[in-house]
């Protein structure tokens, strides 16, 4: 339903997004991950017709956003929870959007109910809203036109843990009914629970993409023993190469069976033995997120590449 193809956006000499391609099929939630300034928002703005790509394209259902006759009835968009007039009430903001979309006023009450703003909060002016309430209102605006596609930029920002849990359920339900969801985040933990697939962007380029399962599965086995040195010796004796591991844990490419057998043979007491799940993506993501402006981490390399 959403398809981004070789999207590139330059601002003068600076490349914000470089050759980004991915697609989001109906019935799925796609997590668009990356550190702040990686190009997430630029990509989403290009998708929603708010900025013109330098080259490449971003389309929804085969059409550019601008060519959608009544855009809000096809794509529900929440790019910035602050993009509402502080002097209007939540209900009034929704009524204005409802008039543009051509949906009945009863729909306003429905979405207010759906996002948990019905009753008194609906008639408060937005300057009294917390960021979490603004996010809920933004989500209500996105849902108002009963769209088939949702595009959400950092929707979990400002939501409390209960709110994040609620939003996950809402997005999951939306996708399960055949909808397409694309949501961005700078926190892996925030989206891994709900996303079917992940697209990771850093320095304007896609650095990893695939189903959440694939990316989080990682490879190898993590093992932890009471005596780390003895374990290392046992593994070495069995011819199992150790690839690293943080703290007192060791990570190897061998199967859990092979590691267990080696430990048993040497009489080493194990504390933990499991697949080294997700460490790969987590590690990659942490290295990207840690990218300081000084540029001492691997991610900075890609940023410089993109800017060159």
């Amino acid at each position: 339903m959403i398809s981004v193809d070789s999207l590139t956006k330059r601002y003068g000499a600076q490349v914000a997004v470089s050759d980004v391609s991915f697609s989001c099929p109906p019935g799925t939630v796609t997590g668009f991950l990356g550190p702040n300034g990686a190009g997430k928002s630029t990509t989403l703005r290009a998708l929603c017709g708010l900025t013109t790509p330098t080259s490449g394209s971003a389309v929804v259902g085969g059409r550019r956003f601008r060519d959608l006759p009544n855009a809000g009835r096809t794509v529900g968009v929440l790019l910035d929870a602050g993009a509402q007039h502080a002097g209007r009430t939540g209900r009034e903001s929704l009524r204005l959007s409802a008039a543009v979309l051509g949906v009945p006023r009863t729909r306003v009450d429905e979405v207010l109910e759906q996002v948990g703003l019905a009753g008194r909060p609906a008639d408060k002016r937005l300057r009294q809203y917390s960021l979490g309430m603004r996010q809920r209102l933004g989500l209500a605006t996105a849902l108002l036109g009963d769209p088939q596609v949702l595009v959400l930029d950092e929707p979990a920002n400002g939501l409390d843990p209960e709110g994040i849990f609620w939003m996950r359920g809402l997005l999951r339900g939306f996708a399960d009914r055949g909808g397409t969801v694309l949501l961005s985040s700078h926190l892996l933990r925030e989206v891994e629970a709900v996303a079917d697939q992940l697209v990771v962007i850093a320095g304007g380029r896609i650095v990893a993409a695939g189903t959440t399962q694939e990316l989080l599965a990682g490879s190898g086995t993590l093992v932890r023993a009471r005596d780390r040195a003895a374990l290392a010796a046992a593994l070495a004796a069995a011819g199992i190469a150790v690839g690293g591991g943080s703290g007192d844990a060791l990570v190897t490419d061998a199967t859990a069976d092979a590691v267990g057998e080696a430990a048993a043979a040497a009489g080493v007491v194990l504390r933990e033995l499991r697949p080294a799940g997700g460490e790969g993506l987590e590690e990659l993501f942490r290295s990207l997120t840690a990218g300081s402006p000084a540029g001492t981490v691997p991610a900075a390399q890609q940023v410089q590449e993109a800017r060159a």
Binding site: M1, R45, G49, T52, G61, H85, S97, A99, V100
Partner: protein, 263 residues
């Protein structure tokens, strides 16, 4: 990456696809935006009250021959003409200062449609402003025989009504144009009031600039319109000054908004 190739949906959706919002709908939405915030609401109230106030001032303190419906009608245009353009400016700039442009343009991605709706809404506001002013003028005319020795004089020429409506529409749209060009409420409001005033003062003080006053100073060229007294050359002079103060900034601002990145 998953590349599920589902059959294209347009077939199913083509029939049920919701139509684009009409220009009338968008104009109604823009009109609603002009009064559904405190700033907009009170600005409209102040315009109404100010029209009433100038009528009363004229009724009690003007001993000249102007205590007629036509006279009141001309005077009440002053508060309308001063304050309505601010509403026109805010109609555009609040989308940027309040950052609602992102919401507005994702709902209606064809930006020129939104801008057209804003121009239409501002024109409607100008006509409504003239209507409100004429109610105040009518009240003044009714009260005139009660408080003065003058009789109620209801005569009003079609030329005056027509020219007043046109001049108010022009005034509001100059405000909209300043808003489009500058996209900042304080900047647009200050420049809207300061620039023409400076030009008016300058061209009146410097004799060599008479031609500028006659052809490019909107404040001077539109003066006869409040009395309905614009003549053939006057229309040309209004035309050239509107081109400078209205058309030029609006075209430049329109292009800027069409091309700029929102958000």
């Amino acid at each position: 990456m998953t590349t599920t190739t589902l059959p294209a949906t347009p077939d199913r959706r083509a029939a049920a696809e919701p139509a684009a919002p009409s220009l009338a709908t968008l104009t109604r939405v823009e009109l609603r935006k002009s009064y559904d915030t405190r700033a907009g609401f009170w600005l409209l109230v102040v315009i109404g009250l100010a029209s009433l106030a100038v009528v009363l001032l004229q009724l009690f303190f003007d001993d000249g021959p102007n205590r007629t419906f036509a006279g009141y009608f001309a005077t009440t245009q002053l508060p309308v003409g001063v304050l309505l353009p601010v509403l026109g400016i805010l109609l555009v700039t609040s989308e940027w200062s309040q950052r609602t442009a992102m919401t507005t343009f994702t709902l209606v991605p064809v930006r020129s449609r939104v801008l057209t709706a804003k121009v239409l809404a501002a024109s409607v506001l100008a006509v409504l402003g003239v209507a409100a002013a004429s109610v105040a003028a009518a009240l003044g005319t009714l009260l005139t025989p009660l408080f003065t020795e003058n009789a109620a004089d209801w005569s009003l020429s079609a030329a005056q009504v027509g020219q007043v409506v046109i001049v108010q529409v022009i005034t509001v749209l100059v405000g909209v144009a300043f808003g489009m060009l500058l996209l900042s409420s304080p900047l647009a409001i200050v420049l809207y009031f300061v620039l023409p005033t400076v030009v008016t003062i300058l061209v009146n003080a410097v004799g060599a600039l008479d031609w500028v006053r006659d052809w490019l100073d909107l404040t001077s060229t539109t003066v006869p319109m409040y009395e309905g007294a614009l003549d053939g050359q006057g229309w040309l002079q209004v035309g050239t000054s509107v081109a400078l103060w209205g058309a030029l900034p609006m075209v430049a601002g329109w292009l800027r908004i069409e091309r700029s990145e929102i958000g």
